[in-house]
Point group: C2
Chain length 205, copies 2
């Protein structure tokens, strides 16, 4: 309505920090937002649906997508590939829909390089100790995987300054309000409004 093109939001934060929970709680009040479903070669967890939580690719399919340059970013993490199919993202943005990507730091950097106007959000845990508690509570990872995720979280936290926004997910309600505020505020940036919209405001009648 006000802008012809959607906004690309990139959400980064450690496994277990609650990115998905924040997003799910925030999005219903935000109107038409497209969530980009990542592709991954990691095994499907109980309850996960192909095409909803992830596109579950086998390794050969993933490597073909890479070869065809069909991914906006990709990373290998804890022995598995993760990536963002570019086509669905581009279609949504061109249709004027905002897009949310939920990706790791390496992927976020790749997106920012390709799409300078991406809005970068970092979701941090209140502390690494709290993140460890959440990872254990989830009960989906081996001890070794938990340790690797914590080490990765420590490394990612050093990159906070590369991001536009930092949201600390301490109380979920607060993090949801914060996330919604970022999306809404970015939509209000003066430069995003079309010239036609601004001219219409100046109409006398």
């Amino acid at each position: 309505m006000t802008a012809s093109r959607g906004i690309l939001f990139v959400m980064t934060g450690a496994s277990g920090v609650g990115k998905g929970t924040v997003r799910h709680a925030a999005v219903p009040e935000l109107g038409d937002v497209h969530y980009s479903v990542s592709a991954t070669t990691r095994p499907r967890r109980e309850g996960e649906i192909d095409g909803v939580h992830y596109h579950f690719y086998d390794v050969a399919t993933f490597e073909r997508a890479l070869a065809e340059d069909a991914l906006l970013e990709h990373a290998e993490y804890v022995g598995d590939y993760y990536g963002t199919p570019a086509a669905a993202v581009d279609r949504a943005l061109e249709a004027g829909r905002d897009v949310i990507l939920e990706i790791e730091l390496d992927g976020a950097r790749q997106v920012k390089e390709k799409r300078e106007d991406a809005v970068m959000l970092f979701i941090a845990p209140p502390s690494l100790a709290e993140l460890e508690r959440r990872l254990r509570g989830r009960g989906t990872d081996t001890e070794a995987k938990i340790q690797r995720r914590l080490e990765r979280a420590r490394v990612e936290l050093r990159a906070v300054r590369e991001f536009d926004y930092l949201i600390v997910n301490d109380r979920l309600e607060d993090a949801v309000v914060a996330f919604q505020a970022v999306i809404r505020a970015e939509r209000l940036r003066a430069w995003r409004y079309s010239e036609a919209f601004v001219l219409a405001l100046q109409r006398a009648t």
Copy 2:
């Protein structure tokens, strides 16, 4: 808590657009925000309280403040002086409180020149015709003053692109949510967090 210094928000928009109404409705949920009370030489309207709605200065007092460089910005508008006493703004920012200034375009530009990090919000009416209805509904201005305000509004609307954010005050509830989103999102900017805060996130315990 997260940042040592408050954020300076500058709110600009035509008389009658509802800046004050939006701000009053938005601020109670925003925690500790300091509203900078302008000084003016215009006559006090019924119900206005000195020091609350404006600091009502006589012309001599205003010109003395100007001579002493005690104003962050000033403007003459429809025959009256308006200005922002700098001291109270600086005290609040240094104490870590966010500050909201509600000022005309000329003043907003002066503040932006002096304070590069000021966050600039433009509040627009849905149309000039709607603004005219609101000004007449307010019933405080002569016909000549209404015409001058409308002409000023037309000029100010051309400057929308100089601002960081544009909020169209069509439905009040929407404008309040939008205003709150801008304040909240700016508080979440990664660069505003203190180094101590970011380091604390990386603590293992």
